[in-house]
Symmetry: C2
Subunit: 407 residues, 2 copies
C-alpha cells in the first residue's frame, strides 16, 4: 500500500473551513487506497503574532528556548483541530506534537536540525489504520525542551518523516500549484513543470523561487524522498521533484529564475598585491555577510585592480561601512554601491551535457541591449547580474530563447 | 528561605503590559528574599477561542484527547512570554509545560486529576536560582498524551505544585483582592477577611462565591497548603485560607454567601409508602442531576406527603421531565417548579461551638417578613431558600445581624 506524507502550510489551514477541506482531501486519498501521514503548519498569521509578542518583550536578547516554547504552540492548535475534523468525517486520526512523534533535534533553538526520528509511534498509529497528524516545524531538544526548525521548517519536518517512515512520496501542499519554468507573474507563457531534479530545485530556491525551503530539498535529495509540490486549493497533479535518472528526456534548461535580493559593491583602484582579497573578504565573512558573484578586473596601469561583488540587499549598509573602514589598511580609491541590480539565472541539469547554453544566454541579452555586470556559474546554472529595470525583459527573452514558452 | 508558589489567572496575563507587570511583581518577591515558582493560565479569552474552534468542528462527539491538545496550547504561550519578561528584567527564569514539570494525571481528558508530581525538575530549577514558570491547567496522561484539568484547573495545578514542592504558601493572584464577608456588589459594608478556614472557603465556593475553584481548596486542605487570595493589580495582602487552628479568635460567622443557581421542585400529594424517596431520587441521580435541600411534609390525611427539593437552574427542565414521567409509577398529583428562588447561607467554623446562630438567622429573616421555603445545614453552614426578590435585603440584614459590617 502506498504511504504518502502530506504537508499542508499555513494558508491551507488558515481557518476552520480550510481545515475541513484538508480533512476531505486526506479522506479522498485514504479512499483511493493510500496510507497518509499528515504534517501541518500553524494557521497563517499565528506564527508572526507569536514571534511579535516575544520580540516586543525583548527585541534583542530573548532566550531562544523560550521563543521556541511560545512559537511552537501554533502547530499544536492545528494538529488537534485537523484530527477532530478528520474524525468528524469518519477518518480515525490522532495528533502528535514533535516530542510525541519522536522527532529529536539538536539544541539549536530557533533553527534546530533534526538529528533522528524514532518511527515507532507513527508506524504503530498507521498500522492501527489511523492518520497521524504531526506538528511540523518542531522537535525535542537533547535537554527535553521544545525546539523549532526555523522558518519554513514544516517542509523539512515532512521530508524527514517521509524518510524515517520510508514513504513512497512526500506531497507539499501550498498556495501555488507547482514549480514553473519561470515566475508566471512576469512570464505569462511560463509552464508548470511535471518533473524537476533535486539539483535544479535547489538552484531555483537559492535564486529566489521560494516554493520549497532549500533545506527540505537538500534533505529529500540526501534520502531520495520523492517530493511533490501541489496546490491545496485545486485537485491537480503538481510538480514532482525527483532524482536525475527519473527525469526522462530532460530539457537542457528547466527554468529561468531571478532574485531581486541583490546589491553590487565595487571597490575602485585597489592596490594589487598578494593577500588583498583576504583583507577585504575576511572582515565581511566575520560579520556574517555572504559574498557572491566576485569579479576582479585589472586597471590599465597594471598596479591597481577593481573588485566587484554582490551581497544581499539587507547586508548592503553594513558591508559598505565595513569596507569604508578598510580604506586605509587595504588602500583603495572608493567604494561604489548599487542596489538597482537583479540576478537572472538559467538552470538545468541538461546543460552539463550540452555546449552553447552560456553562449545563448549572453547573445540573447546582447540582442536586447542588456549589459551584463557580473557572471557566476555552477554545473547546472548560469547567473548574470543586470540592471533591475531589465529584469522582466531578460526573463521573457531567455524563456523564449530556451524554448520554454507554453504553446 | 521562604518558597512561594504564585498563580496568575488569565486576566493577570491578558496582554504584554500585564505580563510585564506580573514579572515586576515576581521580581519584588525575589528581592524580598523569597524563592518563587510561578503558575500561569492562558491569556484571557484564548481558552474560549480554542474551545470554540473544537466545538465548531464537532459540537457533539469531539475527541477529548484532541480537545486537550488544542486547548492546552494557550498556557504554552504565556509561560514562554513570562519567562522572557522575567529574563528581560534580570530574573533568571525557565518555562515548563505540564509534561516538562513532571505533572502526571489520569486519562480523564478534559477533566483530568493529578496523580503525582515528580518534583525533581522544578526543585533543580529553583536550586539553580531560577524561577520556574509552569503551565497551569495541564498535565501528562498515562499514555503520553497531554491532558487538561477542567475549567479553573490552574488553581489546582498551583496548589498541587505547592504541596509537591513543600512550599510555604500558595498565592492565587486574581481580579479580586480577597475573600469578603459577603458580595461587596450587594453588601456595601462587606469587609475583606484576613483569614478564613479551608472549610469555610469550601462552603463559600459551593454556594456561589467563586473566588477559588472548590477542587483546589479541597486539595489545599488535604495537604495543608496555606493559600492566599490576592489582587494582581494592587500590592496589598489578600485573604489567607488556612487550617482552623491558625485562625485565632475566630468569629462565629465569617460570611454570608448566596447562590442564584437554584430551582425548586415540589411534588404534590405523593402517596406515602416505603421506597417512595428512592423511586423519585434514583432516576434523577442516574441522569446526573444533583439534588439539594430536601424537605418532606406530611399532608393532613396522613396518607400523602409533599416533597420539595432544589436542583441547579440548568437542570430544571430535565429534572421536571423525568419527574413527569414518574407520575404513574410513583403516584402523585402534580409537579410544581419555581426558579425565582435563591439560597442564602451563613457560614462560620465558630458556629460549631456557639448556640443560637440558626435562631438569629430565622428571626432576622422573620423581622423583614421573608418567608423561608427550605432549610439545610452542615456543621459550619446554615442555608435557607427564599424568594429571589428578597436576596439583597436578606444578605444585608444578616450581614448586620452577625456583626460583620465594616465600621
Amino acid at each position: 500500500m502506498t504511504l504518502v506524507v502530506q504537508k499542508y502550510g499555513g494558508t491551507s489551514v488558515a481557518d476552520l473551513g480550510r481545515i475541513r477541506r484538508v480533512a476531505a482531501r486526506v479522506k479522498r486519498h485514504i479512499e483511493a487506497g493510500e496510507r497518509v501521514c499528515v504534517v501541518v503548519s500553524a494557521m497563517a498569521g499565528t506564527t508572526n503574532q507569536l514571534v511579535d509578542w516575544v520580540t516586543s518583550l525583548d527585541p534583542a536578547h530573548y532566550d531562544p528556548a523560550e521563543y521556541d516554547q511560545v512559537v511552537s504552540s501554533g502547530e499544536q492548535v492545528t494538529i488537534g483541530l485537523l484530527a477532530v475534523a478528520l474524525q468528524t468525517i469518519g477518518v480515525p486520526a490522532r495528533s502528535y506534537l514533535g516530542w510525541q512523534a519522536g522527532i529529536h533535534t539538536d539544541a539549536g533553538h530557533g533553527q534546530a536540525r533534526i538529528r533522528r526520528i524514532d518511527p515507532v509511534p507513527l508506524r504503530r498509529c498507521l498500522e492501527e489504520g489511523r492518520v497521524p497528524v504531526v506538528a511540523g516545524f518542531q522537535g525535542l531538544g537533547p535537554d527535553g525542551r521544545v525546539t523549532t526548525l526555523g522558518r519554513g521548517g514544516s517542509d523539512t519536518s515532512a521530508v524527514a518523516l517521509a524518510a524515517a517512515l520510508g514513504a513512497d512520496r512526500c506531497d507539499i501542499f501550498t498556495d501555488v500549484d507547482g514549480v514553473y519554468t519561470s515566475d508566471p507573474r512576469i512570464v505569462s507563457r511560463a509552464r508548470k513543470l511535471e518533473r524537476v531534479t533535486y539539483e535544479e530545485m535547489l538552484e531555483m530556491a537559492s535564486v529566489g523561487a521560494k516554493v520549497l525551503q532549500t533545506r527540505s530539498v537538500a534533505l529529500a535529495m540526501r534520502h531520495k524522498v520523492r517530493l511533490q509540490v501541489l496546490s491545496s486549493f485545486e485537485d491537480l497533479p503538481g510538480t514532482l521533484v525527483v532524482d536525475e535518472d527519473e527525469v526522462v528526456e530532460s530539457q537542457i534548461v528547466s527554468g529561468i529564475a531571478y532574485s531581486r535580493d541583490e546589491a553590487k559593491l565595487s571597490i575602485v583602484r585597489v592596490r594589487d598585491r598578494p593577500g588583498v582579497a583576504a583583507a577585504i573578504f575576511g572582515p565581511l565573512a566575520e560579520a556574517n555577510i555572504n559574498v557572491d558573484m566576485i569579479v576582479q578586473s585589472v586597471s590599465r596601469d597594471g598596479l591597481h585592480t577593481n573588485m566587484t561583488f554582490t551581497v544581499s540587499r539587507a547586508d548592503l549598509p553594513r558591508a559598505r561601512a565595513i569596507l569604508e573602514g578598510l580604506r586605509e589598511a587595504v588602500g583603495f580609491e572608493r567604494v561604489d554601491a548599487d542596489d538597482d541590480v537583479v540576478k537572472v539565472s538559467v538552470i538545468g541539469v541538461g546543460m552539463q551535457r550540452h555546449a552553447g547554453v552560456a553562449h545563448r544566454m549572453f547573445s540573447t541579452l546582447a540582442e536586447k541591449g542588456i549589459n551584463i555586470q557580473a557572471i557566476s556559474t555552477s554545473e547546472i546554472k548560469i547567473s548574470v547580474l543586470i540592471a533591475e529595470e531589465y529584469a522582466e525583459l531578460a526573463l521573457r527573452a531567455l524563456h523564449t530563447a530556451y524554448g520554454l514558452d507554453r504553446v
